[in-house]
C-alpha cells in the first residue's frame, strides 16, 4: 500500500498544504499592506506597495509609542504567564504522572478520570465566580490571577500526556543499572532522566500552546496592560474608528505572535505529534 503514491495522494498533499497555509500567507500579506490601503479597501491578495510600517509601529520604531507600548506589554505578559503556568503544571503533573504510570495505589483511576473531566470543563463557567472572588482577594488584573485558573486546563493536559509517555518508559532499566553497580542517584540521573525528558518536554510544549492560546479568562480577569495577554489585547485593539478596524496592524500583530508557534512547530513537530496522539489513542 505504501509503495504506490497515486496522483490522488499528491493532489491531497497539495490540498493540505494550501488549506493549512493559505490563511497564514494571507495575514502575512495583509501585514505588509499599508494602513491606508486596508482602510480604503483592497480586494487583492498581495499588497500594492509592500511596507514595513506596521511592524515599525507595533514594535516601537516610530515616534508614536502608544500602540507599541501596549502590544509589547501584552507580549511580555503572555510569555511570562504562559511560561510560569506551564512550568508549574508540568512539575506538579510529573509527580502525579510518575505515580500513575509506575506505582500501584488506590484511586489511580479516579485521578485520571478527574483530570479528563476537568479537561472537558467549560472554562467560561469559572469566569463569573472568579471575577467576584478575585476582586476580594486582590487577584483581579494580576499575573497570579490568571496563572491560578490556568491550572484548570494546563494540569489535566500535562497529567494526561505525561502519564501516557511514562507508561512507555522501561523502568526496569533503573534496577538494571543499579544491579550493574550504579547508585540510585546515578541510575535516576543517567537512565531515567534521559528517558523521561523528551516526554516532559513535549508535555511542556503542548501546555504552553494552551496557555498561550487562552482567551476567555484573559479578557474577563484583566483590565489593563499590566496583566492583559496578547489574545485579549488584540481583541480590544480596535483603533480610532470602531467600524473600520486597523486590519493591517491586527494582521501584523497576528504574524508576530504566530512566529513563536511556527518556530516551536518547525523544531519539534515530531514530538508534538507523538504527544498529541499518545495521550488519546493507545492500544
Amino acid at each position: 500500500m505504501k509503495s504506490k503514491i497515486g496522483p490522488g495522494a499528491i493532489a491531497g498533499f497539495i490540498v493540505i498544504l494550501v488549506w493549512c497555509l493559505l490563511p497564514v500567507a494571507w495575514i502575512i500579506s495583509l501585514s505588509f499592506k499599508s494602513l491606508d490601503e486596508t482602510t480604503t479597501g483592497s480586494a487583492q491578495f498581495l499588497p500594492k506597495h509592500a511596507t514595513w510600517d506596521n511592524y515599525k509601529v507595533l514594535l516601537g520604531f516610530t515616534s508614536d509609542k502608544s500602540t507599541s507600548h501596549d502590544f509589547l506589554a501584552a507580549l511580555r505578559n503572555s510569555f511570562g504567564i504562559s511560561i510560569i503556568a506551564t512550568l508549574l503544571a508540568v512539575v506538579i503533573a510529573t509527580l502525579a504522572a510518575y505515580a500513575i504510570a509506575r506505582l500501584d495505589f488506590k484511586g489511580k483511576r479516579i485521578v485520571l478520570s478527574l483530570a479528563l473531566a476537568i479537561a472537558m470543563f467549560p472554562v467560561v463557567s469559572l469566569v463569573g465566580p472568579l471575577f467576584d472572588m478575585w476582586r476580594t482577594f486582590h487577584l483581579f488584573n494580576t499575573w497570579p490571577g490568571l496563572i491560578i485558573p490556568y491550572m484548570t486546563f494546563t494540569l489535566p493536559l500535562a497529567i494526561w500526556t505525561l502519564s501516557a509517555f511514562f507508561r512507555e518508559i522501561p523502568w526496569e532499566m533503573e534496577q538494571a543499572a543499579q544491579v550493574d553497580g550504579a547508585t540510585s542517584w546515578q541510575a535516576f540521573r543517567k537512565v531515567i532522566v534521559p528517558l523521561a525528558a523528551p516526554g516532559v518536554f513535549t508535555a511542556a510544549i503542548l501546555t504552553f500552546f494552551f496557555a498561550w492560546n487562552e482567551f476567555v479568562l484573559a479578557i474577563s480577569l484583566t483590565s489593563t496592560t499590566s496583566s492583559r495577554t496578547v489574545p485579549a489585547q488584540m481583541s480590544f485593539f480596535v483603533g480610532p474608528d470602531p467600524f473600520n478596524p486597523p486590519y493591517s496592524q491586527l494582521a501584523t500583530a497576528s504574524v508576530i505572535v504566530t512566529i513563536p508557534v511556527i518556530i516551536i512547530v518547525l523544531l519539534f513537530q515530531r514530538r508534538i505529534v507523538a504527544g498529541l496522539t499518545s495521550g488519546a489513542v493507545k492500544g
Binding site: A43, D104, P122, E172, F215, I219, S254, V257, T258
Partner: protein, 318 residues
C-alpha cells in the same frame, strides 16, 4: 544492550515483591497517593471551588452595579433563564456549530489522515503545515478568517464570485447564516489538524495484513474502507469525536472576535460571559455557568454512553 538485562532485573524485582508484598504494597500505595495529592488538590481547588461558588451565587439576585440589592431568590434565576427564548436560541446555535463542525472535521480530517498515511516524501513538511493551524492562537485564526470574509478587503468575495450566492458585495456579517458559516470555517480550519492527527494514529493501527487479505479476497476500495478500516478505527474515531464535540461546544473566541454575537450568532459560552462580565449580572451569570456545566456533563455522558467509549480502557489503563 540494556534491553537484554532488563527482563532478569524485573524478574528479581518481582520475586522480591512477593516476599515483602504487604509492606511494599502499603508503602507504594502511600507514596502514590502522596505524589498525586498536589495535582489532585490543585485541580479540585481551581475548578470545584469556583463552581460551588457559582452554585451559591446562582441562588441570589446579585448585580455588581447594585451590590446592596443582593438577596436570596432561590431558583428564580434558573426559571428566568429557562423560559427565555434567548437561552434556547443560543443553545441551538451552539449545538448547530458543534454538530456541523465535528461532522465536517471528521470527513476532512479523515481525508487528511489518509493522505498523510500514504505520503512517503516530505513528511516533515506536511506535519509542520498541519501543526501550524493547531498551534496558532484561536483569536489570530478568527482575525485571519474575519479578514478573509471581509467585504472590502477579503479574498473570498474577490475569488469566489463564480460560486452561486457569492458576489463582490456579499456581506458575510450581514445575516445569521452567512456569519455562522464564517465562524464555522474558522473553527474548522483551526481544529481539523487535531482531528486528523488522532485519526492518523488510529489509521496506523489498522493492520496492513488485514487490508492485504481483504484485497486478495476481492474487496473493493469502498468495501475495504467501510468494512475493514473504519471498524478497526472505532476507538480512535470515538475519542476524537468526544474531545472535539466537547471542545466545540465551548466555542467562544471565534464568535467574540468575528461577530461579538451580532446577527444572533451568540453561543452558550458567550451568553454566560456577557451576563457575568459585561452586564455584571453575577447571580444570573452564575446560574448560566451552572447550566452550561450541566449541559457539558450531560453531553459527555451521552457521547460516552451512546458510543460506549471507555477512555481509560482505550488507553489500556483499565
Amino acid at each position: 544492550v540494556s534491553t537484554t538485562t532488563a527482563p532478569t532485573a524485573s524478574k528479581q524485582a518481582g520475586s522480591r515483591n512477593k516476599v515483602v508484598a504487604t509492606d511494599r504494597a502499603i508503602a507504594e500505595n502511600r507514596l502514590g497517593q502522596r505524589l498525586v495529592a498536589p495535582a489532585l488538590i490543585l485541580m479540585v481547588l481551581v475548578t470545584a471551588y469556583p463552581m460551588l461558588q457559582a452554585l451559591y451565587l446562582s441562588l441570589f439576585r446579585y448585580r455588581l452595579t447594585t451590590p446592596d440589592d443582593k438577596g436570596f431568590i432561590g431558583l428564580k434565576n434558573y426559571g428566568v433563564i429557562l423560559t427565555d427564548s434567548l437561552f434556547w436560541k443560543d443553545t441551538l446555535n451552539t449545538v448547530i456549530i458543534m454538530v456541523a463542525t465535528v461532522a465536517v472535521e471528521l470527513v476532512i480530517g479523515f481525508a487528511f489522515a489518509m493522505v498523510m498515511h500514504r505520503i512517503i516524501f516530505a513528511r516533515g513538511l506536511i506535519r509542520t503545515a498541519i501543526l501550524i493551524p493547531y498551534g496558532i492562537i484561536t483569536v489570530v485564526s478568527a482575525f485571519a478568517w474575519q479578514f478573509t470574509f471581509s467585504i472590502n478587503n477579503g479574498w473570498v468575495n474577490a475569488w469566489f464570485t463564480w460560486v452561486p450566492g457569492i458576489s463582490s458585495t456579499t456581506n458575510w456579517y450581514g445575516d445569521h447564516w452567512h456569519a455562522m458559516f464564517a465562524i464555522m470555517v474558522s473553527e474548522i480550519w483551526k481544529t481539523t489538524p487535531f482531528m486528523a492527527l488522532l485519526l492518523l494514529a488510529g489509521l496506523s493501527q489498522v493492520s496492513e495484513d488485514m487490508l492485504e487479505a481483504a484485497k486478495v479476497d476481492g474487496a473493493t476500495a469502498a468495501q475495504r474502507l467501510f468494512k475493514v478500516i473504519l471498524p478497526n478505527m472505532r476507538a480512535a474515531i470515538m475519542v476524537a469525536v468526544l474531545f472535539r464535540a466537547l471542545d466545540a461546544f465551548r466555542i467562544f473566541d471565534n464568535i467574540y472576535v468575528m461577530t461579538r454575537g451580532a446577527q444572533n450568532t451568540e453561543s452558550s459560552s458567550f451568553l454566560t460571559y456577557r451576563q457575568s462580565i459585561e452586564q455584571f449580572q453575577l447571580g444570573m451569570g452564575s446560574a448560566l455557568s451552572v447550566l452550561l456545566f450541566l449541559t457539558v456533563l450531560l453531553l459527555a455522558w451521552l457521547i460516552v454512553k451512546f458510543f460506549r467509549v471507555d477512555l481509560a480502557q482505550a488507553r489500556g489503563e483499565g
